[in-house]
Assembly symmetry: D2
Homo-oligomer: 131 residues x 4
Amino acid sequence: MKGEREKLAEKYFNCSESERAAFEAGIKLGTIYHQFVGTPINEENAGLLERAMVEGTMIQPFVIDAEVHIERGPLKSKKGEFDYVSLSGPMLAVRLVVGYGNVKVIARMKHIPEINYPLMYIEDITRIEKR
Amino acid sequence: MKGEREKLAEKYFNCSESERAAFEAGIKLGTIYHQFVGTPINEENAGLLERAMVEGTMIQPFVIDAEVHIERGPLKSKKGEFDYVSLSGPMLAVRLVVGYGNVKVIARMKHIPEINYPLMYIEDITRIEKR
Amino acid sequence: MKGEREKLAEKYFNCSESERAAFEAGIKLGTIYHQFVGTPINEENAGLLERAMVEGTMIQPFVIDAEVHIERGPLKSKKGEFDYVSLSGPMLAVRLVVGYGNVKVIARMKHIPEINYPLMYIEDITRIEKR
Amino acid sequence: MKGEREKLAEKYFNCSESERAAFEAGIKLGTIYHQFVGTPINEENAGLLERAMVEGTMIQPFVIDAEVHIERGPLKSKKGEFDYVSLSGPMLAVRLVVGYGNVKVIARMKHIPEINYPLMYIEDITRIEKR
């Protein structure tokens, strides 16, 4: 059942359900990247930061599921005063499931070595049974 | 003409052109919000920050046009050492045009008082002539 | 005992121990504010975000202790699709203890209603016994 | 002449003028780094982003001067849809002058290859003539 605010919000949209679902998925991936890139990180807090990123995503509209993985490679042997790094795009892998109306989108962010870019993409978009 | 990297990137997508266009628009709006919210701002630097936000958006994939407006109201009579604010969502209005393949999306972010939320939405999505 | 990198780093500094300690405290407070302001938050994830902010601070150089409190007031009765907020400065209260050499700094960030500003300040700075 | 708000703010501080000046310099460097790291950048918008970072710093309390340089090396031959990068710490060089009371601090941020770290440090701190 849609909330009162979503009923007000949807009047602003002129697009199909699947375009809306894709749009919402894009917002969430852009949010994860630009909110958290730069955060100080080492092996001690990486797991907690992953969870905070997941929870901060789950509370946003239309998110059904979120998984975040921070690559631990760059964090190895970081010990002592200056031994941490800033979270960067290539360290991030995200899997996101967004549902809007009858449409479900599976979107991902991951570093693609061939293009040297943390690509955000739609892995799958499908029509689902009404809940 | 598509670049070499876009040809590699598009293999990862399983969706229509219009869903891809909507997704790309969502990414850019999420990026603007979460990259720049918090930036120190007063009447002196507001115009320059608007331009920096526009330029930082224009260089991203598939962006045709971007306009950013920062509401000056909260900046009035900010003078002296502590008289500036942090850029917040309700101060931001964005209009974004994204083109992917034959599809053009006009997306916006603006504060909607009825729902007390800086809404990101698709104002229009249309099929365009191939360039 | 100082790490190898701190020995290299300290050559760049031309100031007293207490000025260095104050400088390091300032860096950490600026970091907390500008890294995390804008993060999506409601009552469900506030506690986890507080912990992630603490841990991301504790791994930085010379931090002895950190406490972060997010004001829950603005999160009350946030339910449904759009019912969360972006973390803002006035919601944040931080207590930070930094130690450099023989000096200990207790620094805070908190919203001061009289000046309508999330003030970062040095509550106490003291000479401590060598460890 | 001190503003009304600074008179209220300074009651919260228990430290010397030089410690306060160092603290304020630290805040500004932490702010620059964590506000802007992650911003999309290529050769087209680098100059404008530098200026926006300078202006966003100049409006903060006690800042006398600020210079920001973004290393252009990683931006060379970035052309086409995906050819831009996210601003990262090692690309940033900052020189900041802060004045508090009778004290002037020159602080810097720059990447130090030997420690592989974007070091923030106090280059000089001096007593100045009252203005």
